[in-house]
């Protein structure tokens, strides 16, 4: 039963992930008095990319061909660890937060390698930028998870979630607010949203993620885009479930299953709304100012960890 539910959970994550991107696109379009894409558009975009012919540089080595599969499969593995609407995840016994973070880092490493592989200037620029930013984002993410784990006495996501789920909401909000701020900033940076990176343009001065995947087309591009959307969805569901751990399913009736899926999706879309709101209301930061934003995340994470240490002492 647990297995079946976990399987359903992965299917849900993989299927719903593109619609979060649609939600933010639609918000942006509405704010600019445009109509914006329909929900089906994001899926048909993916489908069209899957059917299209690929153009591959003749200088490309095996890394170029392996990268989309590596990226997609590491993201899929990560989605096996993150609980969505259900407290248990399929690989929860095998992996904790550290495995999750380094699965993302593994995919990102291959992404940067493949961008260097074809030898274009944009690829190299994009991967150097991506690596710089992720070397700043990763410690902030790790430290804020350590702060949460110090309180919960476990690094596994299920443990953290059920620990905070048993406490009263106000206390959880007060105790984890700084870590929430840190992880939220990291989420914006990792999913390439506007104060850090602009997902909608291909402008050489600003692009980070787009610069790395310029050489890709067809099926590979579809895999990369989809993996990116799943990653964004996973970060959002981490935020939703770790910091607002209410409404997750305990018993196994069908009504409760439906209810918890509904609660989960509404949490995700509310968080995505906040991200979209920030995207609408802010300009993209200059590249050299982005480390300042991530430094804020780092400071928040450090303070929340120190605070936990002093409380539990």
């Amino acid at each position: 039963m647990n297995m079946a539910l976990s399987f359903f959970q992965i299917l849900l994550i993989v299927a719903v992930a593109p619609s979060v991107s649609w939600w933010i696109k639609k918000m942006k379009a509405t704010s600019q008095n445009r109509i914006g894409p329909t929900l089906l558009q994001v899926y048909s975009d993916l489908g069209k990319l899957f059917r299209k012919e690929m153009v591959v540089s003749e200088r490309a080595s095996w890394i170029f061909h392996a990268m989309p599969y590596v990226l997609f499969s590491t993201t899929l593995l990560a989605s096996l660890i993150v609980p969505a609407f259900f407290k248990y995840s399929f690989l929860g016994f095998a992996g904790d937060v550290i495995v999750l973070i380094y699965l993302f880092a593994f995919g990102k490493f291959f992404l940067a390698l493949a961008a260097l592989d074809t030898g274009t200037t944009f690829g190299g620029m994009g991967s150097s930028r991506e690596m710089t930013l992720s070397s700043l984002a990763e410690p902030a993410l790790l430290l804020s998870f350590f702060a949460l784990a110090y309180d919960a006495r476990t690094l596994s996501l299920e443990g953290i979630i059920s620990h905070f789920g048993n406490q009263s909401p106000v206390e959880v909000l007060f105790f984890t607010s700084l870590a929430f701020g840190a992880i939220f900033l990291v989420t914006i940076a990792e999913s390439g949203r506007i104060p850090v990176d602009n997902p909608a343009t291909h402008l050489e001065l600003t692009m980070i993620h787009e610069a790395m995947i310029l050489e890709y087309s067809g099926r590979y591009l579809a895999l990369i885009e989809w993996a990116h959307q799943i990653k964004q969805f996973l970060f959002l569901s981490l935020l939703a479930n770790v910091f607002f751990p209410w409404g997750l399913m305990n018993t196994r009736t069908f009504t409760e299953l439906g209810l918890s899926v509904l609660v989960f999706l509404s949490k995700i879309f509310i968080l995505a709304f906040i991200m979209g709101w920030i995207e609408i209301h802010s300009a993209k930061l200059r590249l050299f100012r982005v480390p300042d934003l991530l430094a804020i995340a780092f400071v928040l994470a450090v303070i929340s960890l120190l605070g936990q240490l002093i409380v539990v002492r």
Partner: protein
């Protein structure tokens, strides 16, 4: 572990206090620095109020209200007025750049948590987490006084130190006797006004409030 409502609120306020002193260090604009000072003082007033309410020490209410009125409203407004009168340009000049000073202040916060880790002497009457936080606030104020070039920001650093000392006094001993407390508030107010006048004088003599100029002798 088990958190109650009040301990978690206290924790939140203490952490927010630390974050707002970080924000004072990190803010690139003079006006936002002053606003963060106002937020810092507001949180300080909230903590004082909470201590007074929870420990039934009613005479602490008076310092709490005074902090709220004086430090969150009067002194920031005085600074805004001062900046308008001086017409100084709004960026903060510092001897070290802002990311590095944030890094330094993170180190100082670590240091203050480290030195208070198992000091048995420092027992508090209220919540033990305020010892490192108040020491960190004092350190950050010192950092701000030593690294900033403008006289106004140095005064802000001094006020940050004063906030840290006040927090320590409140949480370790329920504050000083009321008369002393009132004297301190009066001192701070008069001190800020005197320093404001002093800043005017510096501007008049050197056509700027950069304290680097003070080292140059003029005949």
């Amino acid at each position: 572990m088990d958190h109650g409502f009040i301990p978690s609120l206290v924790h939140f306020l203490g952490m927010a206090l630390l974050v707002s002193s970080f924000a004072m260090i990190a803010s690139p604009q003079l006006l936002s620095c002053i606003r963060f000072y106002a937020i810092h003082s507001f949180l300080l007033a909230a903590i004082t109020f909470l201590v007074a309410h929870e420990s039934h020490v009613e005479h602490l209410m008076i310092p709490a209200v005074l902090t709220l009125v004086l430090k969150t409203v009067v002194i920031p407004q005085f600074f805004f007025w001062l900046i308008r009168r001086l017409g100084v340009h709004k960026e903060i000049d510092s001897y070290v750049n802002i990311p590095f000073s944030v890094f330094l202040s993170a180190l100082l916060v670590f240091l203050s948590f480290y030195v208070t880790w198992d000091l048995k002497v420092l027992t508090t009457v209220f919540s033990k987490e305020f010892v490192p936080i108040s020491i960190a606030t004092i350190f950050l104020g010192m950092l701000m006084m030593t690294t900033r070039k403008k006289a106004v920001t140095q005064v802000l650093g001094l006020l940050l130190i004063e906030n840290g000392l006040f927090l320590m006094a409140v949480t370790m001993t329920f504050g000083m006797p009321l008369l002393v407390e009132l004297g301190i508030f009066f001192d701070v107010l008069v001190g800020v006004i005197i320093m404001g006048i002093f800043v005017f004088k510096i501007r008049g003599a050197f056509e700027g409030i950069d304290v680097d100029e003070l080292t140059v002798l003029r005949g």
